[in-house]
Every structure is written in C-alpha cells, then in structure tokens.
C-alpha cells in the first residue's frame, strides 16, 4: 500500500530519533555510563522503525534485542527515559532498576524481555491467541533476528500461528550475523522467509535499509492481520555495521571483518538512504531534516538528564523478597 506524506515524514522522523538514540547508547557505553551490555544498531535501525511506526497502543510488540528495542519502542510512543533509567540502574527505571536491560511497558503492550534468544516466540503465540479471541483487530508485531529462527520454538510459533490464523507478523530483521556466525553458514536456505512456505504462511522480502519499503510491507501485513486473515512473515534484509555487542570483537566466523567490508556496508546507511529519498522526492526540505535532527538531539539530551539525575536503586533485600510474588 502507498504511504501518505504524513506517514513518510513520520517514518523519517522516527528513523532520525532512532539514529540519535542509538548513538547516545553507544557513546554512553564507551563512557562507562550504562549497566550491562549494549548491542549497537548501526546499520539496522530502519526495519524496526518501518515495522512499528504504525502500530496502535493496544497492539502487542516484542522488540528486537538489537539496539535494545529502542527504535521499535519509540515508534510506539513509549517514553524511552524510563528505559534509559532502567539501563542505568535507577529507581525510576521501567523495571525499578532490577533488570539491567529489560524493557517492560505493559500499558503499551511491550511486556517483557529475556536473555534467551527466541524467548519471544512462546509469549507471542499467547498474545495472538488472546487477540484473536478478543476479536478487536489487535495485532502482534514480533521482531527478531535471523539467528532466532534456529529455535524450535520459533517453528512451533509459526506452526500454531498459521494453523489458527493468529494475527501475528513474524518480522525477521536479517542482518546476516549472529554474534560471529553468518546466516549463510547457519541456515540452509538464503532467505529465512522460506520457513514460512513450509507452513503455508504468506511472506515478503524487503530491503531493510529502506524504511519506506519496510513500512509499506508491514502496513499490508498489519491490515491482513487486523482483518483476521492470519499471520505474515516479513523478512527485512538489513545490515550490522558494528560488532554484536560493544567490547566483543567484530568477527565473521573467526576472522575480523575488514575495513573494506565495513566501508562497503556503510554505503547503504539507512539514514543516508532515507535522506536521499526524502530530498529527491521532496517529502522534506534540508531545513526540515535538520530541524528534525535538532529536535531528536534535544529529546535524547532530556532523556539522558532524567536518567542521570535519578537515584540509583538499592532497595533492602527484604523489599526485594516481597516483590517476588504479586498480591
């Protein structure tokens, strides 16, 4: 489906914000100002923005762990300051500082995170099942990487989603890497989307560096799901410009990715791609582009100030023990 001008401008704005947030997270990690680890999203921010910009508040979202789901969540209207506070161990964090890096914004239907790749596949089946039962045209956007489709539970989810025609979009952000492993080495087929064929699920492959192309495909899939026509598998071919997580060497297999290799990837920088398009198509002026970036920088500065000014969470053990069970 064709995007409106407003939709295109919104996509560009979200992409810019995602870019600024990602750079902030990278910088803070280098400054020792983050708890835990960070999986940088350089080169891979467009798929999440394309998939999530047009979700409703009551649509379920399982964000990808790359970029710690920030690109995905900001599209859904989630206030990232509570996530950064969590990532810096503060009492104001979305998980009260208990989790190091987990996001949880239940009011926006982002429920949980876990350290096990593929943890999302079990819950999304349940969300889809509940959504179908509720029959309120609610959808489930499940974002995960190529590596996650090695999990058996991913296949179980595909099976059950297609079987019951659950309103789930299986959004695979295929950047060809899982830590040091390449998708070409770890998957028998060149496209992850071919898994969907085995279940009779419709699928589409898109250029993950082009946020607009991603968004168009996702809107189609979302509409399909809302109509009750079942799940869709969308594979966004994207790229990873940096290492898997900061501090880990950037290897492919067991040898370093070369400067040459990386330089080649960077020619398809998603912000550059989008900027070229919006200027060429005259969807935005240069001034407007700069204003959007200025606004994003201000936004992120405020988010950082909130996190940095918040108090570190150090509750007594008793209080934590009481929090194990709900009332």
């Amino acid at each position: 489906m064709d995007l409106t001008l407003e939709q295109r401008q919104l996509l560009f704005t979200n992409l810019t914000r995602a870019d600024v947030y990602n750079q902030m997270m990278y910088r803070r990690m280098m400054q020792g100002k983050l708890i835990g680890f960070y999986h940088p999203a350089e080169g891979g921010i467009a798929p999440g923005v394309g998939a999530c910009t047009f979700l409703n508040q009551d649509d379920n979202l399982s964000p990808h762990h790359r970029g710690h789901g920030i690109a995905h969540m900001l599209c859904k209207g989630i206030d990232i300051k509570y996530y950064l506070a969590e990532h810096t161990g503060k009492v104001t964090g979305c998980c009260k500082g208990r989790s190091a890096f987990h996001f949880s914004f239940p009011d926006h239907k982002v429920y949980l995170m876990s350290g096990f790749i593929g943890y999302n596949f079990a819950p999304v089946v349940g969300w889809g099942w509940a959504a179908k039962r509720r029959a309120k045209a609610q959808v489930v956007m499940n974002c995960s990487g190529d590596g996650s489709y090695g999990q058996g539970r991913a296949h179980e989810a595909l099976l059950m989603a297609q079987n019951w025609k659950l309103p789930i979009i299986f959004f695979c952000e295929n950047n060809g890497m899982s830590i040091f492993s390449t998708a070409t080495e770890m998957h028998p087929m060149p496209d992850i989307a071919s898994l969907a064929d085995g279940f009779g699920m419709p699928s589409k492959i898109v250029d993950g560096q082009n946020v607009f192309e991603v968004a168009e495909a996702c809107l189609d899939a979302i509409d399909r799901a809302r109509r009750g026509d079942g799940p869709t598998f969308i594979e966004a071919k994207t790229l990873r410009f940096k290492e898997h997580d900061i501090g880990t060497p950037d290897l492919s297999g067991w040898t370093e990715r070369t400067e040459q290799e990386l330089a080649q990837l960077q020619e398809r920088d998603p912000v550059k791609v989008a900027t070229d398009i919006v200027l060429a198509e005259q969807w935005l002026t240069q001034d407007e582009i700069e204003a959007i970036r200025e606004s994003a920088l201000k936004e992120v500065a405020q988010v950082e100030a909130f996190a940095d000014e918040s108090e570190i969470a150090r509750p007594p053990v008793d209080e934590l023990l009481r929090a194990v069970f709900a009332d």
Binding site: Q31, G32, E243, D250, R314, V317
Partner: protein, 398 residues
C-alpha cells in the same frame, strides 16, 4: 576504566590523547584503550580539567580510576588516588552488607559429647552436667529420654532441679579448707565461749598514738590482740599448744596463726589462708604490727615465704568490721592448735561502771578451745587474763 564488554576484566591505556591537566570537552577522546580483545578510544563524559592518574602502558582492572575531573586546574594538584578508589568501592560494596545470609540460630558448642540438641538444651536448663549422663541413643548419643531420666533421679535424691548459677568444685583451695574444717570438727572436742570486753580505753589510746609505720596507718587492733594473747599465754601456757598424735605439745614461742581471707577460684567462693606470725612473744607492739601487715600482704599477694603458712601454735580469726556489731560466733579451731580467739565488730552498749550506767564500746570475743587440752577452768582463766588486759591495756602498749 569503563567495562565495555561482559568479558572485559582489565584495560591498558595505550596512549593518552589529552595533556595532563588540560581542559577537555564532553565526548572528546581521552585515551586509547586496549582490552584483551579490542582497542577503543574512551570519550570524555564531562567537561573539565582532567588529571591523568595512570601512566601510558599501565594496565588496570575495570572500574579502577584512571583520571579525575575538576572545575579548576588548582584542584588537581593534590588528588588522593587511594581515597578516590576507596570511595568508589564503598559505593558498590554497600549493597552486599544489606544481604543477610541465613545463619543458624544456635552457635555450636565446644564440647565433644555426643548429645542431641534438645537433650543438651534440657540438660543446661536443668543444671544437669551433660557429661555425667550415659547416652542410650545411637552411638551412645545422649538423647532426651536420658536427660529426663537424670532429672527424675535428681528429684528422687531431693536435689533442686533448675538452672545452676555456678558450679564450684570441691578440689583446690576450697577442698582443702573443707577438709580441714571437717577434720577439725570431728576429731577434737572443741567448744566456744563468748564474752565482751570494754575496749573504750584501748581504742582511745590507740587513736592517740602517732602513726606507727611509714605508710601512716595506725597500729591495728589485731596487733593489740596478739600482744594480749602473748601475755595471756604466759599465764596459761596450755593455750599455746598443738595436739600431735597422742601428745599435747606446748611451745615456747607464740606463733600466732592469723586467718586471712583470700580470693576464691570463682566470683562466688572465697578462700581462707592462715598466715603465721612466728615468735610474736619476742616482738614489740610496733614490730608485731609491722610483721603482721607484711605477712598479710605476702599471703594475699601470693608471695608467701616458707613458714608463712605453717607452724601456728594459737590462732586469731577476726571478723571485726565485717560482721554486725556484737556478733557472737563459734569459730572452728585451726587444728592442730588447741585455742582460737575470734573477735568481731565492736558495739556501743550501756554498761554499769562504778554503779552508774554509761555508754562504752564493747568488743565481742569468741574463744574456741579443745577440751582434750584445756578444761573449763584454765580456759576461763585464759579468757579472764585477756579480758583484764583489754580493759586495762597499758601493758599492751609497752
């Protein structure tokens, strides 16, 4: 040193990218860092004057301080790295102190008796010595029924069952004293007579004497009593004797045994030693006093010399100043002596002097004597001599 990756333990500052003390901007590259796996530039988190605290090529653990910021260059001159690091570490260690490990509620005992916890508890509460109970549990473990049986047996024997305050063993000094007392009471034919002597004049005279010794203390009343004993023995030599096997042995010199209280072995028991002032009959009053006081000091200080604790021929055991005024008692003979004088605390009494009732200071005296050696008549004469000497004490002060 930021921890840039989970697997990162330490980093090396390969090259400082800013001068020491230079002003830096946020995000300005500060140092080129190398870790076990990769190389990075650390970017400045702040604006400020930056002091480099480690040298190029130095490797430190993650979270170790490598540099410090200040608002002004002069603040950088005396930076205490140790203090900074300590305050950083305290912040992270504080959490660990909040965590309570689950600890056992009871400390383990040093005893190596095989006994169950409940049996041990009941035994302790009932004042029963666990070591004295035979165990009927597996491996001769003392179990609850064994302790309960022991309690029942104790009740049977008419003894109290309850928490014991202290247990003083009848060995050591207490045992010696106990044995001596029993022996004295069962072997002799001792009896005690009590009377009071008017010591108003004696005390007045004593008070008016100049300080006897270098330490400024006056002559002790006991010294006067020892002088009185020496004089009385002249009249009744039989009082200065010991029963030895089948003989009563009378002695030339008067070796006065002096009952001295000493510390016991616990906070509850006391000890008693009899120091001996040999040849009291050869000394002046002052000398008696001096000798007696140093004897007491030696005995109490544990530095007694040979002869200090044996060889008495007559004993003085005073409770003056300790017991209630006018105390009458029945002291036990210091066997093998045949006589013991036991004065106690003086008391003011109305007495008849020259037909008139006056208030006088009366010294209560108990005299225990062994009837195997001294019959009533010589004993009474001895007491009379003492009494007269105490009431007309001029002789004693010579």
């Amino acid at each position: 040193m930021p921890k840039l990756a989970m697997a990162m333990n330490e980093g090396t500052v390969v090259e400082w990218l800013v001068a020491d003390g230079a002003f830096v901007e946020p995000a300005q590259p500060l140092a080129a860092i190398e870790t076990e796996k990769v190389a990075y530039d650390v970017e400045s988190p702040e604006a400020g004057y930056f002091k480099r605290l480690i040298a190029e090529g130095e490797t430190v653990d993650c979270d170790a301080i490598i540099g410090v910021f200040a608002d002004g260059p002069e603040e950088l001159s005396d930076v205490d790295l140790g203090k900074l690091q300590a305050s950083l570490d305290r912040g992270t260690e504080g959490d660990q102190q909040q965590h309570q490990a689950s600890e056992p509620q009871n400390a383990s005992s040093n005893q190596r008796i095989k006994i169950s916890p409940i049996a041990k508890k009941i035994a302790a509460e009932s004042g029963i010595d666990a070591a004295s109970i035979a165990g009927s549990g597996p491996g001769q473990r003392v179990v609850k029924r064994d302790v309960e049986a022991a309690i029942a047996a104790t009740r049977q024997a008419g003894l109290p069952v309850g928490a014991v305050l202290a247990r003083v063993n009848l060995s050591g000094l207490r045992g010696q004293i106990a044995q001596h007392m029993v022996q004295s009471l069962t072997e002799g034919a001792q009896l005690t007579a009590n009377w009071e002597s008017d010591v108003t004049e004696l005390l007045a005279r004593r008070a008016s004497m100049p300080a006897a010794n270098a330490d400024g203390r006056r002559i002790s009343v006991n010294s006067l009593l020892i002088r009185a004993l020496v004089e009385a023995v002249r009249q009744v030599p039989m009082a200065n004797a010991c029963i030895e096997a089948s003989d009563i042995v009378l002695y030339n010199s008067v070796n006065v045994g002096i009952a001295i209280s000493v510390e016991g072995e616990s906070e509850y028991d006391s000890g008693l030693k009899v120091g001996v002032l040999h040849e009291a009959d050869s000394y002046s009053l002052k000398e008696i006093d001096r000798q007696m006081k140093s004897l007491v000091e030696r005995v109490r200080g544990g530095t007694s010399e040979p002869g200090d604790l044996s060889g008495s021929t007559i004993t003085l055991s005073s409770t003056a100043g300790i017991g209630p005024p006018g105390l009458m008692s029945t002291p036990v003979l210091n066997s093998p002596n045949v006589a013991l004088l036991g004065p106690s605390t003086p008391i003011e009494r109305p007495v008849v002097v020259n037909g008139e009732i006056v208030v006088r200071t009366m010294l209560p005296l108990s005299f225990t004597f062994d009837h195997r050696a001294l019959d009533g008549e010589p004993a009474a004469r001895f007491m009379r001599v003492l009494h007269d000497l105490l009431e007309s004490p001029a002789v004693l002060f010579n």
